[in-house]
Amino acid sequence: MAIITVQRPKLAWHEKAFISTLFKGLKITLSHALRTFLQIAGKKPKVTMEYPEQKWDDQLPDYYRGAPALVTDEHERERCVSCQLCEFICPPKAITITPGEIPSDDPWAKVEKRPKEFEIDMIRCIYCGMCEEVCPEQAIFLRKDYAITGLSRKEMVHDKKRLYEIGGQRVGLVNKWNELK
């Protein structure tokens, strides 16, 4: 086990009188200033980003955890079968599901259930991604939307219609209801 004792420096007279340290500090500041000028001139990549005009979106990874949303598949079927596993796992209890039955004349009647109502309270949501992790139907996904705003609390509760609007259609998911049964 190596232990090193941190050294407390003894200052020389010119350091105590701020003569050499003044120049040392100025050198660092000026080098940064020069770098900033180069950045403005476009010679070097900028450190900052002018947010609403420039966005980071294309750098976000695919698994970025933004606003959760429901998806439909290429057959326009609601993926959610209202098993309520996400409602159960959600740590801040932001999800409320009311299960409903699919009428027997529907082409997807064999799926039997879909959500009658599906609400996510975006004020409560902490974007942890556990709903996506536990969903056994690939129905809920965390999207790349991060600027979720609203003028009222009611507006911040995303209902089923809004969730499908955000989620849209997603192709290439596992279609177990087509092959089996």
Partner: protein, 419 residues
């Protein structure tokens, strides 16, 4: 019907008032009212969050300090009793919110100790990367804010540029910049993404010049030295007596680091040094933090040089959520998936304590399980809370203008202190 007569002693109001006055006099020792009580915080920029200090002042000199914590209390320990072990992971992000990855790892390790699991080699290496990145991030902020508290604004801006890069790495790794929630009991959410190792290497190459730059700006700076040296001295014995941990303990000259004394995550395999201070003042704590960042860079380089392959999660299939592809198509796995998601991991009954060396000190989780998916009691030993307890002993005798530098050098986070 028989009647019962009882005698009650009427309280002697006058005697009680006299006693109270006497006790008040003993605590304030200020009969003529020459001292002034000053409230610092809870919303004061130098108190790093919502710490309230009730200071009794004699002119410019503080005679008594009374730290008042609890403004950020959210009842995390109680919340933990009502949810599964995995559901609590997002709450650990919000303890020491400057190093969420390190908290995730510490919590996961505590739970795994209860379950009796051990993450495979690659998982352990990934966790070391997480911990050390978090340590650099936290110390970068600690040093930057400390410098800003004593008047050097520039350092803060330079260190924050580097922290931003760490957040970008976190985003690549976990999908979120700040609330990482990366670990689960028994493993990680996902493996390292492609190009992550080279990104970390590039970051480390850029980081080292910045550490040197901060070093140049502060270490031999006469103003910084005058504002930090021989201030807020914690002697070796005091630090041990008050249970101080982390860089604050090492600044006082005690070479105690859980990564060395109680190695977890294969820390014994990596070659690194423990920096210790000599006097235990604010300046020593700063020096220790600077050196720890350099040691973290060393550890990170070693981990990435010999990053093992293989699985990242424990092999115990009963405790983890099964693979998603299997859940979608196979009955057996689907049933298992539902059981784990609804009932949680069936933990054995027992009590465990695990302390990890976090950037702020020893973050410990004490879990009392009575079996089943939820803990019966979960106690968080938060380093910031214990490091702050010494304030009432440390601050008296200092000038009011020295309080920000003492607070800055202790480098605490109220989210963890009040939890």
């Amino acid at each position: 019907m028989p009647t019962v007569t009882r005698e009650y002693e009427a309280p002697d109001v006058a005697a009680k008032a006299a006693m109270q006055a006497e006790s008040m006099e003993a605590t304030t020792s200020d009969i003529v009212g020459e001292k002034m009580v000053l409230n610092m915080g809870p919303s004061h920029p130098a108190t790093h969050g919502v710490l309230r200090l009730v200071l009794e002042m004699d002119g410019e000199i503080i005679t008594k300090a009374d730290p008042d914590v609890g403004f950020l209390h959210r009842g995390d320990e109680k919340i933990a009793e009502n949810m599964h072990y995995n559901q609590f992971v997002p709450y650990t992000d919000r303890l020491d919110y400057l190093a969420p990855l390190a908290n995730n790892v510490a919590y996961a390790l505590a739970c795994e100790k209860l379950m009796g699991w051990e993450v495979p080699e690659r998982g352990r290496a990934i966790r070391v990367i997480c911990c050390e990145l978090a340590r650099i991030s936290a110390h970068m902020l600690g040093v930057g804010v400390f410098a800003m508290d004593v008047g050097a604004m520039t350092v803060f801006l330079y260190t924050f540029t580097e922290r931003e890069k760490i957040y970008n790495l976190c985003e690549q790794l976990t999908g979120a910049r700040f609330t990482t929630s990366y670990t689960r009991v028994g493993g990680q959410v996902r493996d390292l993404p492609d190009g992550f190792v080279s990104a970390v290497r590039k970051f480390l190459d850029e980081l080292e010049p910045v550490i040197d730059e901060v070093d140049k700006l502060l270490t031999r700076n006469a103003i910084f030295m005058a504002r930090t040296q021989n201030l807020g001295v914690i002697t070796k014995q005091e630090a041990i007596d008050w249970g101080i941990s982390g860089p604050n303990l090492r600044g006082s000259g005690v070479a105690h680091d859980l990564r060395k004394s109680n190695p977890y995550l294969d820390y014994e395999r990596y070659d690194f040094d423990i920096p210790v201070g000599t006097t235990g003042d604010c300046y020593d704590r700063y020096l220790v933090r600077m050196e720890e960042m350099r040691q973290s860079v060393r550890i990170l380089r070693q981990v990435m040089d010999k990053l093992p392959g293989g699985p990242i999660n424990v092999a115990d299939a009963k405790g983890l959520l099964p693979k998603k592809e299997k859940v979608l198509m196979k009955m057996e796995e689907l049933i298992h998936h539902f059981i784990i998601a609804t009932q949680g991991i069936d933990a054995p009954p027992g009590e465990v304590y695990f302390g990890a060396e976090n950037p702020k000190g020893e973050l410990g989780f004490y879990i009392h399980s009575k079996g089943g998916g939820v803990p019966y009691r979960l106690k968080i030993r938060s380093p910031s809370f214990i490091n702050l307890s010494i304030l009432s002993k440390m601050i008296p005798g200092h000038l009011l203008s020295d309080v920000p530098s003492v607070l800055g050098s202790l480098d605490f986070v109220m989210g963890e202190c009040d939890r």
